[in-house]
């Protein structure tokens, strides 16, 4: 029930942000729409702790800035490689075991890897990640577990 | 502006020819459809252009009509997109059924199978 109510609230906020109009009509329609979507989402069974990870709101404020920094750094690295006439790459596949417990955590971890240029999560399982890296140093970076630890911390803030 | 106009003109032409080429050159029915979609995409760019050339909005008749201006390019593009999607979807649906019926989605193979069928079984 709480999850449903907070879903409606979140969606309504989303509506207001999109709309930018505050006429009674549009607000009413927005609220109605939020209700309708939650109802349909409920039928779809997508409003659960995965589909509506409201609990991770605060943690994101810590994790995301770090991630953005990482993305920027790696993007620059990859850029240098692309523009290097010799194209100095050493494609590598690495396997390692993630420490996250929830699917949201695993997904966040996998997406973070993929978002970071130079690494892509290929297989994402509870017990093993398979990552394709553009360079060996990138591969080592993933394996080092820094990101894994941060994602797990982010996940556990719930 | 003109630079962009020309650019979009050239891209239109490129997409047009590329799409048409794929439709003609490819034997796989799905690939043909993809070519067709590319071909249709060229139209969207074309319709973005007029709004700039004519000054953005359609003419306004009188006060009565100030609230809404009529056919805007993006409405036209949207319509074209909807038509394009519907065509693509119908095309894919057909390909799926063709695959079921012929066991292949390669044009040559399908035609060959029809010929075989005609030769082996004159009744069909």
């Amino acid at each position: 029930m709480f999850r449903a109510a907070s879903s409606v609230a979140t969606l309504f906020l989303f509506w207001v942000a999109l709309s930018g109009f505050f006429t009674p009509f549009l607000l009413a329609v927005g609220f109605g729409s939020s209700l309708a979507v939650v109802w349909l989402a409920h039928r779809m069974a997508v409003v659960d702790h995965e589909g509506h990870p409201i609990h991770l709101g605060l943690a994101a404020t810590v994790y995301w800035p770090w991630l953005f920094r990482e993305i920027a750094k790696s993007a620059w690295d990859v850029t240098k490689i692309i523009l290097d006439p010799r194209l100095p790459i050493q494609p590598t596949l690495v396997r390692f075991r993630p420490t996250q417990r929830t699917e949201v955590g695993l997904a966040t971890h996998a997406n973070s890897i993929t978002l970071t240029p130079g690494t892509i999560s290929v297989e994402v399982g509870r017990h093993e990640f398979l990552v394709h890296a553009l360079t060996t140093s990138g591969a080592e970076g993933v394996k080092s577990g820094d990101m894994d630890a941060r994602v797990s911390r982010f996940e556990s803030r719930a | 502006m003109t630079l962009f106009g020309h650019f979009s003109y050239w891209i239109t032409m490129f997409l047009l020819t590329a799409g048409l080429y794929i439709v003609i050159a490819r034997g796989h029915l799905v690939k043909k459809l993809i070519g067709l979609s590319i071909f249709q995409t060229s139209v969207y760019l074309l319709y973005i252009a007029p709004s700039k050339l004519i000054g953005g909005t359609a003419p306004i008749v009188s006060d009565k009509f100030t609230l809404y201006s009529n056919p805007l390019p993006h409405v036209l593009i949207l319509t074209a997109i909807v038509v394009g999607i519907a065509t693509l979807a119908l095309g894919l649906a057909l390909v799926v059924r063709i695959r079921e019926a012929y066991g292949s989605a390669e044009e040559d193979e399908i035609l060959a199978r029809d010929e075989d069928a005609a030769r082996e079984n004159p009744r069909s």
Binding site: I82, P91, L93, T114, I120, L134 | -
Partner: protein, 109 residues
């Protein structure tokens, strides 16, 4: 103030454009499917992000900025998911990755 805003947004847009093109070049240059994905993510992340940021600076605090942010968030969520799915599908359909040191010899050029 407005000059500063303009300059910043200029810079961001240009940088975004630069990274986009880099991604495009990488997509052409890289030797196999998987390495090309790395190039594409430059476009998806820094390229797109900086460009959107540039437009946000230009738009100031407005509805437009909110929408640009949404485009950003969309790319932020959707792009890695799609990339991952691509990689996974490629791997399971047997697209072999090129592995090991692939550096081009300068003598080749």
């Amino acid at each position: 103030m407005s000059a500063l805003v303009d300059a910043t947004s200029w810079l961001l847009l240009l940088a975004g454009g630069f990274f986009c093109i880099v991604g495009g070049i990488g997509l052409v240059r890289m030797p196999d499917f998987y390495t090309r994905m790395h190039a594409a993510s430059v476009t998806d992340t820094l390229g797109a992000g900086l460009m959107l940021l540039g437009m946000m600076v230009q738009a100031g605090l407005s509805l437009v900025t909110v929408k640009l942010a949404m485009i950003g968030l969309l790319i932020f969520f959707a792009s890695p998911a799609a990339t991952h799915a691509l990689a996974k599908a490629g791997m399971s359909r047997g697209v072999e990755p090129v592995l090991g040191r692939q550096e081009r010899r300068p003598s080749k050029r």
